[in-house]
């Protein structure tokens, strides 16, 4: 039996009737067409599906849409503000923190939560903080630099 839900996604209220089994990632991708959130596994390991629920990074393949009822969800599409890239997006671009780009949205959103908790992380803290996200291209080093780049800018108060 479908359930009525109301979720705010990237600032916009979305009201739908959904199957209880509908995964949040499929709601975002297939129902709302927000395909920036990717699916890379089904065992909650890879982190490609990471989004923010009420500001916290979660793996949207391991959350039912109905569980997110009433929540605020932020996806990669919602990070830009007024046409300006988020410092993390800038950091990933400047420091070559991505290659194929598939893990990138999830990586950026996990880093978003990490920087919320630790605005000035060490390299080691970044590496551990991003252990829920796999990247197969970069060897992670430029991702670390990208997050450091963003952290610096965010601390400098550019945002």
């Amino acid at each position: 039996m479908n359930k009525a839900i109301e979720i705010t996604v990237n600032g916009q209220k979305q009201a739908y009737d959904v199957e209880p089994r509908l995964l949040l990632v499929h709601f975002l991708r297939d129902v709302l067409g927000l395909t920036g959130t990717h699916v890379g596994c089904e065992t909650s390991i890879c982190g490609a599906c990471t989004v923010l629920i009420d500001g916290r990074a979660v793996k949207s393949c391991t959350v039912l849409t109905v569980q997110a009822n009433g929540a605020e969800v932020t996806t990669i599409e919602g990070l830009e503000k007024d046409g300006e890239l988020h410092p993390l997006q800038v950091g990933f671009w400047e420091e070559h923190g991505l290659q194929c780009g598939y893990c990138t949205p999830g990586m950026i959103l996990a880093a978003h939560d990490l920087l919320r908790q630790k605005p000035d992380p060490t390299e080691d803290e970044i590496r551990h903080g991003l252990e829920g996200n796999l990247c197969r291209c970069t060897g992670y080093q430029h991702i670390v630099k990208a997050v450091q780049h963003a952290a610096e800018r965010m601390r400098a108060g550019s945002r």
Binding site: E19, I45, E77, F92, C100, G101
Partner: protein
């Protein structure tokens, strides 16, 4: 005249990134078409079984299910899954789209369920009942080639897919005359490529236009189109393949898979667009694996450390069927098993074994990591047996820098190299001599520091067309069209198909410098057979070396035409002119000339009626390389081993790579970082495990350890630059170098650390328990 900063050689941030960091890129699964159906596959639970009845009654009864197909429905309608590789005397098994009569590996597709949503397709797939009559599974490649036991393809009588020999009387003599023979048994375990984006295919058939459009996550859209047209019996010009954004490939998407034929067939059969997106479990079980060899390798050695011959016997774990290049991958291993060392004689023997597993095929490095591992492990073993420093043994055997072009005993010609230079630089950065002293000190305290050196060499940028098999219907060339639009915008249509490598940026850098236009004027287009004239694709570290050379050729043609046009307008001979800085100018007086805009206008407006010149301003080239490319470098791994747990604590990782000239150092770093991560992962973490019954035990990311950020150390990179004379850019390739160089460095470091404990060998991956166990066993003996 003012000189704009050179783009080539600069750290230019990528032009691909804005769409990727904002979630606006389009990967295959992002494609939505009206009326699109979804495919779910019923796959084999058994490694080896005869198929009985397949009952899809319950599946068909679910609302939303459109059709269920099995092999019987496909009979005669499609060709088999293509294998283009040919090995003398090899047996080529029939490779159906859906299993026919038997299943031969876990994950082999048996039935195709098509429904209106992916949820319903998945529900219905669960309801298809398949009867199996299990057979014994063949898993060990060494035992597979022995007589007796289950036969995977009955028509062949045994599981020997091929047996090749490359004997050498010189090698035999060298072994007879050797002071010592150093022997190793090496297990190059199977690996899962694991591109972050699982494979996916969408197909749409426009029956009125008789036009098939396929979006697929592939590294080779053009080669795939050729094979697909043949498999579906369609004229090739009725097939358009698009590789949209592709989320990594690593060789696993250098292929044409069952689903890539099935999905287009379904779209044609059902008259509706069909989408299939692989789950990660399917990816593990039914996308090609890499490596998979057992090598018995030995070196004939003189007392001073000189290696005079190498001999190898290789057992290749091919899997149940052949994918695109399956049987030819291991050929690179023995061909290059001498690495960058002057070894006068090689002899080898290979057994290709059918096993009840997914096929192996190209995976980042494809045969060369195996070769480098043999060479680099041998060097360390020679050093250990002779009591020499591993660095000294390498120096002793290096091909000297004045020996290029160097003809190898396997018939290759190394283009250029200065192995000692890269080694010296790496030793200096890491502080080798001090580290060795520290190692001695630590050993006295019962601490085990390991210093592992790998002075790898690889072959890439394949290559002269003659090196590729005829069934590929393509050579080793690459193609590029450069078109200067009437507005002055420059469109580059390249036949390579980048999926993370960044050539939308690096090619624009080349164009910008060549024509003196702004990067923003340049658009690099790839991955669509309807817009890109022709191509081979991105694999084997060939993108920049071959695609870039084709681009260079087209730019030269265009510049030549511009000079001809300008020559007519300026009344100066073409030879007196040059193109650059956005102008065509007089070499003798650069202040005199025409702007590109004037020349472009003349080419398109064509009112001047320039004789012997066609209107327009574009050029297409096919670059055919005269040789392969041979990048090299030195990697040094340093870590401390906790003998109590078998865990390691990283100290340093230094890599000095030489890939010739560099277009964009930032992209090169990225390639090397990623490559090293995968190579370290082979050494330390990753390994496919099939159990004795052919069940895939490492079936998910829960049990297959793809490294996370904290499992990779901070990497210190540097480089030397030894340009290749082979291509006009002087670039080699760098996509695989890191993977090739790093694995032996880590294993050498581990064995170096444990040498005082008497540990001589540990098979990869170096899981802590294996390390601990090796220490226990060494203590006992």
């Amino acid at each position: 005249m003012p000189v704009t900063p050179k783009m080539v050689g600069a750290r230019i941030k990528r032009r691909e990134d804005p769409r990727l960091i904002t979630g606006r890129a389009t990967y295959v699964d992002d494609i939505r078409l009206p009326g699109m159906l979804h495919l779910s596959l019923v796959r084999s639970m058994y490694a080896h079984a005869r198929l009985g009845a397949i009952d899809a009654t319950a599946a068909r009864a679910i609302g939303g299910v459109v059709a269920v197909f099995t092999a019987a429905d496909l009979k005669g309608q499609t060709g088999p899954v293509p294998c283009v590789a040919e090995i003398p005397g090899m047996k080529l098994p029939h490779h159906p789209i859906l299993a026919e009569g038997k299943v031969r590996h876990v994950g082999e597709p048996i039935a195709a369920v098509v429904a209106t949503s992916r949820y319903v397709a998945r529900d219905a797939a669960d309801l298809v009942e398949v009867e199996y009559d299990p057979l014994d599974a063949v898993v060990d490649p060494e035992r597979a080639v022995e007589a007796g036991g289950a036969v995977i393809h009955e028509e062949f009588g045994d599981n020997v897919a091929f047996h090749t020999e490359a004997p050498s009387p010189e090698a035999d003599r060298a072994f007879r005359e050797a002071d010592r023979v150093v022997k190793l048994r090496i297990v190059q375990q199977r690996l899962i490529p694991m591109a972050m984006e699982p494979r996916a295919t969408v197909a749409q058939w426009a029956s009125g236009d008789r036009q098939l459009t396929v979006w697929s996550s592939t590294q080779i859209p053009h080669l795939y189109r050729t094979q697909l047209a043949e498999a579906l019996h369609l004229p090739e010009n009725r097939v358009r393949v698009i590789a949209p954004e592709v989320g990594g490939g690593f060789g696993a998407k250098l292929n044409v898979y069952r689903e890539e034929i099935l999905v287009p067939w379904l779209a044609m059969k059902l008259g509706k667009p069909v989408k299939w997106t692989q789950s990660r479990r399917e990816d593990f079980a039914a996308t090609t694996h890499g490596r998979g060899q057992v090598d018995y390798v030995e070196a004939a050695v003189k007392q001073d450390g000189t290696v005079t011959a190498i001999r190898a016997k290789v057992f290749v774990d091919l899997g149940a069927y052949f994918q695109f290049f399956t049987p030819m991958i291991s050929g690179f291993s023995t061909m290059l098993m001498h690495g960058c060392y002057r070894v006068p004689a090689l002899s080898s023997e290979q057994f290709g074994a059918f096993t009840n597993k997914m096929a192996t095929d190209a995976y980042r490095g494809a045969g060369r990591p195996e070769a480098a591992f043999m060479a680099e492990r041998l060097m360390d073993e020679v050093a250990r047996e002779l009591g020499m420093d591993p660095v000294a043994v390498r120096r002793k055997n290096f091909i000297p820098k004045d020996a290029f072009p160097y003809a190898t005993p396997a018939g290759l010609t190394f283009d250029s190299g200065d192995y000692e230079k890269a080694l010296d630089k790496a030793l200096e950065i890491v502080g080798y001599d001090e580290l060795r002293k520290e190692q001695q000190e630590l050993r006295k305290q019962g601490r085990y520091l390991g210093i592992g050196v790998s002075t790898y060499l690889e072959i890439c940028g394949l290559g002269p067309s003659v090196m590729l098999p005829p069934k590929l219907k393509a050579g080793g060339w690459e193609s590029c069209t450069v078109r200067i639009e009437p507005s002055g915008a420059v469109t580059v249509l390249t036949g390579i198909s980048p999926h993370g490598q960044g050539q939308e940026t690096s090619f624009a850098q080349i164009v910008a410098d060549s024509l003196g236009v702004g990067m923003d004027e340049v658009l690099v287009v790839h991955g669509d057979t309807a817009t890109v004239q022709s191509g081979v694709g991105t694999f084997g570290s060939r993108g920049t070396a071959l695609g870039g050379s084709a681009l260079r050729m087209s730019l030269e043609k265009i510049k030549s035409k511009m000079k001809t046009i300008a020559s007519h307008m300026m009344e100066a001979p073409p030879d007196a002119l040059d193109v650059g800085e956005g102008k065509v100018f007089l070499k003798s007086d650069p202040s005199k000339g025409l702007t590109l805009a004037q020349v472009i206008d003349a080419a398109y407006n064509f009112k001047a009626g320039i004789p012997n010149i066609e209107p327009g301003l574009d050029a297409t080239s096919f670059y055919e390389p005269t040789n392969c490319l041979y990048p090299f470098g030195t990697h040094i791994a340093v870590f401390e081993v906790d003998p109590e747990t078998g865990r390691i604590q990283w100290r340093r990782y230094v890599a000095v790579d030489d890939c010739g000239n560099v277009i964009n150092p930032m992209l090169v770093e990225g390639q090397v970082h990623g490559g090293i991560a995968q190579g370290l992962a082979q050494a330390l973490y990753e390994g496919v495990v099939y159990d004795e019954n052919g069940q895939l035990v490492t079936g998910t990311l829960m049990d297959y350890a793809v490294p996370r950020a904290h499992m990779i150390p901070h990497l210190e990179l540097d480089s030397t630059v030894t340009p290749t004379p082979v291509n006009p850019l002087g670039v080699k390739g760098v996509g695989e170098a890191g993977t090739i160089g790093s694995t032996p460095a880590v294993v050498n470091a581990m064995l170096d650390a444990l040498a005082p404990l008497g540990v001589k060998s540990i098979d990869m991956p170096l899981w802590p328990e294996k390390v601990w166990r090796a220490i226990q066993e060494a203590k006992r003996s």
